[in-house]
Amino acid sequence: MPREVGRVTTAGADVQVTELTVDDHACLTFGEPEELFDLTAAFVRDGLAGGLKVVWVTEAGAQRATPELARRGIPVESALADGQLAVAGCEGCLLSGQAFSAGAAMRWLSGQMAASQQDGFGGLRIAMDMNWALRPVSGVEELPEFEEVMAAALAGTTASVLCQYDRERFDPVTLATVAPFHTRSVAAATYYADALLRICRQYAPPGIRVAGEIDYRRQEPLALALAEAIRLDGDITVNLADLTFIDGPCARMILDAARGLATSRSVYVRCHPVITDTFVLLGARDVAGVSLVSADDR
């Protein structure tokens, strides 16, 4: 786990999710659902904006996955309606009757590549939740073979695949085995992480995410994260939905960052009521450009 103050780490990753190219076979590692949904939303958003067909194969299921995308600003309804976006479960794509076969999964992938071309899309982006491999699925030993064959099949095409591995649940041996078959490794830019606190970049909508407890002792990585977020264009979201404590100096630092922005830009601080109250005490309601958004709004 990265633990850095004063510089950014990306858990061994070599690119940001926003830097992937047309035929990448990327390995995304994530530590919590919020991070997975955020990075996937950015992958989907950029694919849709680029005129690509986008498919998300997810264990979460369409019922949970599509609202998570919509909440992050993805035009889910229209993209689903016109066929540019598809969200599917693993069964029927990667699995058949809860059994995995590298050959069958590759046939599904080839079919998706052909269909996206037939439908006139400029390319294909597939986000592939690999959590199915943590369940007792027969044929799971063919996973490395699948990753290897897929890497060869994607090279030189206009199709890219983002394989999503939960780094907290997959054993290091499996991760180390499949990693070499990927052209890129992707993770959220992380400014600080230990057992109590995690500060990382948020990609969709852009900003930062702070989870756990934060006090003045971690002002330095918070300042760096805010400074990098401010360098982006447009509005900034400070996602504190998983934050359980913030002290006065850190809350004030966030408000001060908002005060320094141009009047055309806003900072959305997303948090639960207990955190909201601390910002209100510090006068956040009267700081121009700051909006306190309830994290309970889904």
């Binding site: 006090d215 002792r217 006068g283 009267d286």
Partner: protein, 172 residues
């Protein structure tokens, strides 16, 4: 109205007794529910202990936040501007929560956050413009606590805060 800030140089309270002060009916020499030493590396443990005991006493979540925030800010002040370490004691009685944060460091005049000289009832103005750098922590404490006092002098600093609750389950 109790004088909010004293500079009488009272030393940290001794073993086992409760901090003196009007407003709450805590008998002298009541054992605290929490008696915990802290330094900069253990502020999270102070917060966790306060939250756990306040929750067990049946205090609403929003007020637990207030108690935790106030105690944290006092302890952080002791670490940053006092001796660098200190002692936190917390009493839960039928009338509410009292917490004492003590450290052996004296605060130079002005650096303990009392720059505006505001009492507990003077915190109703808006937060902007920011008070002096070190003052914000104590400003927050006074804003959320029902009563707050700070004694500081050459031998140390003792802060006592009271939160009154109607239906607290006494645990000590």
């Amino acid at each position: 109205m109790t004088d909010d800030v004293h500079r009488s140089g009272r030393a940290p309270a001794g073993e086992g007794d409760s901090p003196p002060g009007p407003g709450m009916s805590i008998a002298a020499r009541v054992q605290p529910a929490v008696d915990q030493s802290f330094d900069g590396d253990s502020l999270y443990a102070v917060r966790a202990a306060v939250a756990a005991h306040a929750s067990a006493a049946g205090i609403p979540a929003a007020r637990i936040r207030d108690v935790v925030l106030a105690v944290h800010e006092l302890a952080a002040n002791a670490v940053r501007h006092g001796a660098g370490q200190g002692r936190m004691r917390l009493w839960i009685t039928g009338g509410g929560i009292r917490c004492e944060v003590a450290d052996a460091g004296a605060r130079p005049s002005g650096s303990d956050g009392d720059g505006d000289g505001a009492g507990p009832d003077a915190g109703s103005h808006d937060a902007a413009p920011w008070p002096v750098e070190h003052g914000h922590g104590l400003w927050l404490v006074r804003k959320v606590a029902d009563q707050a006092s700070l004694d500081t002098g050459p031998s140390g600093t003792v802060a006592v805060i009271d939160f009154r609750f109607e239906s607290v389950r006494a645990t000590s």
